[in-house]
């Protein structure tokens, strides 16, 4: 006896008949089938859209991060991130060999210090950022953020001041600001610099306390020639996790720290984690409703068809085949619902990918506080749709356990008693 002879419920011809039975059974109670399929369609659309939106927001956040001041990965002197003093600085020569890494396209060096800024009777503590102004112009588009005056287009002297600080200190173009601070290794740092422009960094907090100057000027002010506090690694692709590990393996970690955006912005990571958990909770509720809805359908189907199942078993149909017919019916409805749901969800997801949702009000402020765009595009990652289609299909299979147990225990005589 061959394997197929021992498994008669797997042979092709009866399967065609079982499929035909299941398919026609769907149309016996059209209203119920429509309700069941509709609930699956709704679940697929809602789940796929919600998750696409959520992952799209995270994707956009990452995109913002790479194009933001922070970057994916930064290298500092060990301990700088927890104690931001100029003494925790290092020489760029210590890491230039990182440019040999296949995923690193450039290294952008910075001096990040603090100073007391004074003009006439006004004085304010400010964050003084010394940047490679040409490189950061290309990377961050800083020149486009200048709202008054000019960027360091043909010069490397002077300073750009945040528009918030301008308003607080009543500053004008051409004014000179005197900075007073502690330089490298306890030296005195002071200097007077003319304002060449005002910059809108989109974040009120940053605008109130940021002053930007060329890296060489900052090194001179803080008396730290050829030293920097920060190096931002420019990546060729988004594979920052692997790149970070490879950089950590190459540098002397006793001297230097290599941090990714997650580690530098733990609040953001927590925000995403909380948001994801919230999304999962909503999905859990949605899938619970769908599970009970499908279970209700399966329960009714099984109870209604018990008589028929009894007849089929009585005339000689193996219970396994009866189970296949019963399960096929719900599986066919599920597949129909899933395919239709994906078909409806795709244009919606595509639309909001092309025309992202524009945040406004308090949400806009919160998002922009982190330096991100207040836009939420949907993600077109097909794994989102496939995973939710898979979850719903799994739910269908799970609720069919009731049918399987019921038919396995069915006694034809009892089932055929009306």
């Amino acid at each position: 006896m061959s394997f197929w002879d021992k498994q008669p419920y797997l042979t092709f011809v009866p399967f065609v008949m079982l499929f035909k039975l299941a398919w026609r059974n769907i149309f016996r109670n059209k209203r119920r089938s429509i309700i069941t399929v509709s609930s699956i369609i709704f679940a697929v659309i809602f789940a796929v859209f919600m998750r696409s939106l959520q992952y799209g927001a995270y994707g956009n956040m990452l995109k913002n991060i790479v194009s933001s001041y922070l970057g994916y990965i930064q290298v500092h002197k060990q301990g700088f991130w927890t104690e931001k003093t100029l003494d925790n600085s290092f020489s760029p020569e210590d890491i230039t060999y990182l440019l040999d890494h296949e995923n690193i396209s450039y290294l952008s060096y910075r001096v990040e210090g603090f100073a007391l800024a004074s003009k006439d009777d006004n004085s304010k503590p400010v964050a003084l950022l010394g940047l490679d102004v040409q490189q950061e112009k290309n990377r961050l588009g800083l020149d486009k953020k200048v709202v008054q005056g000019e960027y360091f287009t043909n010069r490397k002297t002077g300073i750009l001041v945040g528009i918030g600080l301008r308003d607080i200190m009543s500053l004008r173009l051409g004014d000179s600001i005197i900075f007073l601070s502690q330089g490298y290794q306890g030296s005195m740092a002071s200097g007077s610099y003319p304002i060449i422009g005002f910059i809108d960094l989109k974040t009120p907090e940053l605008n109130k306390r940021t002053v930007i100057m060329d890296l060489a000027q900052a090194q001179e002010l803080f008396a730290m020639p050829n030293m920097v506090t920060t190096a931002v690694l420019g990546l060729k692709n988004d594979n920052w996790e692997e790149t970070q590990q490879e950089v950590i393996a190459r540098v002397d970690t006793n001297q230097l720290e290599v941090l990714n955006w997650n580690e530098m912005l733990p609040e953001l990571q927590q925000l995403i984690a909380v948001d994801k958990a919230g999304g999962l909770f909503v999905l859990f509720i949605l899938y619970s409703i769908i599970t009970f809805s499908l279970f209700g359908t399966v329960l009714m189907l099984t109870e209604e068809r018990s008589f028929e199942y009894g007849v089929l078993i009585a005339v000689g149909m193996a219970k396994n085949k009866v189970i296949i017919v019963a399960i096929l019916e719900t599986i066919l409805m599920a597949i129909t619902g899933i395919i239709a749901g994906l078909a409806f969800a795709f244009p919606v997801v595509l639309y909001f990918n092309i025309y992202p949702i524009n945040l406004s009000g308090q949400m806009q402020e919160v998002v922009e506080k982190y330096g991100f765009e207040a836009l939420i595009p949907t993600s077109l990652d097909p794994s989102i749709a496939l995973s939710h289609a898979g979850i719903i299909f799994f739910i269908v299979l799970a609720v069919n356990m009731y049918t399987i147990v019921k038919i396995k225990r069915l006694e034809p005589i009892k089932a055929m008693r009306r």
């Binding site: 008669p8 039975l21 028929e308 005339v315 000689g316 005589i413 055929m416």
Partner: protein, 225 residues
């Protein structure tokens, strides 16, 4: 040959104990046209169910051909019913979503018969029950009598050793009953098909060649007419 020996059936739910059959002994030979009669609750349907392998005896044996079906497992019994026993039910019990042709063909599909064999036998059987022009109709498009004739054709489709019919005429009018009995009688005469009925329809009893009367779970009389 169906051989029932010392069969008892007791239903006991812990509170009530009912002895449905009390030591039944009976033999039904091939080609018989037998009616099991008796009042409601006499045990005739229980006896028919036990002969058909739909129920198991508390004691005793049911031997069909050379197989003691009391010893078969559930799956073996299902397989045995498919290949050896044809059933005709009081409420026809056709598959509502299949046409007359597909209903008749159904058991042959389960037996993995070839398409050619299925087509030939389905056509022959539907012609034999006078429904060759109704093959594409679904049960709800046919009268009760027509449905029961399809049920007879279905019962015969798997080439069973015998057919068990539980009150086959109970839901039929006189004309349909006469027509159905004619068909079954002709199949019995021409093809030597064994029929065993449970019934209290006098029209069936009148056509039976043997009448077994059951009362209180025992055979009261066994008469060849």
């Amino acid at each position: 040959m169906i051989k029932v020996t010392h069969v008892t059936k007791t239903y006991d739910d812990g509170k009530v104990r009912v002895e449905a059959l009390r030591g039944i002994n009976v033999e039904i030979k091939n080609g018989e046209f037998t009616a099991i009669v008796g009042p409601s609750g006499s045990g005739k349907t229980t006896l028919l169910n036990i002969i058909g392998g739909l129920d198991t005896p508390t004691e005793g044996n049911v031997i069909i051909g050379e197989t003691n079906i009391a010893l078969l497992s559930e799956n073996q019994l299902i397989d045995f019913r498919l290949n050896h026993i044809g059933f005709v039910f009081q409420s026809y019990n056709l598959i509502p979503v299949l046409t007359a042709k597909e209903n008749v063909e159904f058991l042959m599909l389960l037996q993995n018969k070839s398409e050619a064999e299925r087509d030939e036998r389905t056509t022959k059987l539907l012609k034999a029950v006078g429904l060759e022009d109704q093959i594409n109709k679904k049960p709800n498009e046919m009268s009760g009598g027509q449905q029961q004739r399809v049920a007879v054709a279905r019962a015969l489709a798997s080439k069973p050793d015998f057919i068990l019919a539980d009150e086959p005429t109970a839901n039929l009018d006189s004309a349909s009953t006469a027509n159905l009995l004619d068909i079954m009688y002709r199949l019995n005469q021409e093809e030597n098909m064994t029929f065993v009925f449970s019934t209290h329809d006098q029209r069936v009893i009148d056509r039976a060649k043997r009448v077994i009367t059951v009362e209180d779970g025992k055979i009261l009389s066994d008469i060849y007419t």
